[in-house]
Amino acid sequence: MLVDDEALARSLVRQLLAAHPDIRVLAECANGFEAVRAVAETKPDILFLDVQMPQLDGLEVLELIDRDAAGRPAVIFVTAYDQYALKAFDANAVDYLLKPFDQARFDRALERARTRLAAGGVPPALALGPRGAPLTRVVVKDGVTVTVLPVEKIDYVKAEDDYVLLFSGGRNHIKKQTLASLEDALPKERFVRIHRSYLLNVDRLLRVEGSATGAFKAVLIDEARLPVSRAGAQRLRALLGARPR
């Protein structure tokens, strides 16, 4: 399957694939949303994936499709940018093709994909950690629907075993990720861990209530009430103290 927002770039990969008659192109996608859907529907063995694409980039696509354990494709990134290479290998990409490339280089990448597939499939991606800069959006998938949540629209995040529940405007989205790794990737000046299981967007905080037993509750703008641990209260105070009012 070929994913690139430029038709010419897809056509180049298709041309180079002509030398490999055993490989059939199942789908061509011009953006990340199409790609996530098409991967679920067609279950390709090999995915040629551009990194820089509008709205949902290649790394985010990988993050979303990789959670479906069965039939995980071997991913070959295709991009003009070399700065994503490390990230791509963290994500267990098979190879990283820098545009423009020739038939020999392309064949080598394909050979590595074949070897990987013959060796019994692709190991799962390592958790995608922070990309240097804090995330500005989080991508989630409910069935085949991909939702892009800008971080400022997230009210709070709750941990549920190996998953996180992201609450945004009265709706919630589930995502397979640990709360700690999400906390690492989100902007520190906005999100604070108020409890072992809760990460709060402080812009949504209305007030903090104490109770007779000494336990705190955070009350959000939409009246939701979240538990606040002793350490969480300290972190919350530190963050609110540091922010200009």
């Binding site: 927002d5 430029e6 010419l8 770039a9 056509s11 509008p54 003009a80 545009k99 020739d102 800008p150």
Partner: protein, 351 residues
């Protein structure tokens, strides 16, 4: 505070210069008043030292009356009055000193003889005062020239930085890599188009190379470069990139620094077209209104999404270059309205 007192070396040189002047004073006293060498020395040494400091006051005069043809008469009379007053004061202190020295038997006749030399001493006082005044004017002028030089050097540095930045923008490697990738894709199936893409790309690169050697170009040339760039990007993006233009021919002759618009056009393509699924329309407008020129670069933008990091660099560069070239007379405005990101440059039409 006089600059000589903040820079001790200069005060020393100035006082050294007064040694021959004091000798001249002594000589004149001997010639005009018939003073003996001892008398002349006893009188001239303290008087010379005193006048050296008295004349430093002319610095304030020099600051208060800068060389200005409109106030020539006022300046000249002020300077004349000041020199007469200084010389009178000097002669007065000389006479007082002479009377003081006359208490000693050796200098009994000193006041009398000084009275003979009085007019000459007064004249010398006026001349010396004017001399020091002239020196101050020369020093001030040199200082002003140095400050001017420093400002010019700063401006040159700023222009160089902008040029370097523009060079980096031009050699934007991802643009090149993506264009080369398009050519690679076209070569086999559509060789004609591959050839024309090579020509477009070379055209663009050659034009930018020629431009960077000049300090200014016409807006017409800058827009022609933007056309070449957009032609290359149209091959890459296909239907996603549409360009509309409304160019005012009477605005096209204004001189601009080379590659002023290029970062804006590249940003518009990258963020306005490349970052959107459906692409969009990029608009270029130039307009002349009286003695002002306005240049607008506009691209579609999603209202909710903030500008990605990196978008601000090109814009900041354009703002700095406009500021360096036109000062307060040029403006750069940028903002989001009606789902479009719009940058407007407003410049004087004249040179």
């Amino acid at each position: 505070m006089h600059p000589f007192f903040t820079q001790s070396g200069r005060l020393g040189v100035y006082l050294l210069g007064w040694i021959p002047l004091t000798a001249i004073l002594g000589g004149l006293l001997m010639l005009a008043g018939g003073l003996s060498l001892l008398e002349a020395a006893a009188l001239a040494a303290p008087l010379g030292l005193l006048y050296a400091f008295l004349c430093l006051s002319s610095w304030y005069l020099c600051r208060a009356f800068p060389v200005d043809s409109a106030r020539l008469l006022a300046t000249a009379s002020a300077l004349a009055v000041a020199s007469l007053v200084a010389a009178s004061l000097w002669l007065l202190s000389g006479t007082t000193l002479a009377w003081g020295l006359a208490l000693l038997p050796v200098f009994e006749t000193l006041p009398d003889r000084l009275a003979h030399a009085g007019p000459v001493v007064f004249l010398l006082g006026v001349l010396l005062y004017l001399l020091v005044l002239a020196m101050h004017y020369v020093l001030e002028a040199a200082e002003a020239a140095r400050a001017q030089e420093r400002r010019a050097a700063e401006l040159r540095t700023l222009a160089k930085e902008a040029e370097l930045q523009a060079l980096r923008e031009r050699l934007n490697p991802h643009f090149l890599f993506n264009s080369l990738n398009s050519i690679a894709a076209l070569v086999a199936g559509r060789p004609e188009e591959a050839r024309s893409m090579c020509a477009l790309l070379s055209d663009f690169l050659r034009t930018t190379l020629g431009m960077s050697e000049r300090s200014s170009i016409s807006l017409r040339e800058e827009l022609a470069l933007a056309h070449r760039y957009l032609a290359v990007e149209r091959v890459r993006f296909g239907d996603r990139l549409t360009v509309t233009e409304d160019l005012d021919e009477s605005a096209s002759d204004v001189a601009v620094p080379p590659l002023l618009l290029q970062p804006l056009v590249e940003n518009a393509v990258k963020h306005g077209i490349g970052a959107r699924l459906e692409g969009g329309i990029l608009t270029l407008v130039t307009k002349r209104r009286g003695d002002r020129i306005s240049i607008v670069v506009e691209n579609p933008a999603d209202a909710g999404s903030e500008r990605p990091a990196g978008a601000g660099i090109g814009l900041a560069n354009v703002k700095r270059r406009v500021a360096a070239c036109w000062g307060d007379a040029g403006h750069v405005g940028a903002g989001l309205s009606n789902g479009r990101f719009r940058v407007e440059i407003d410049l004087p039409a004249g040179p």
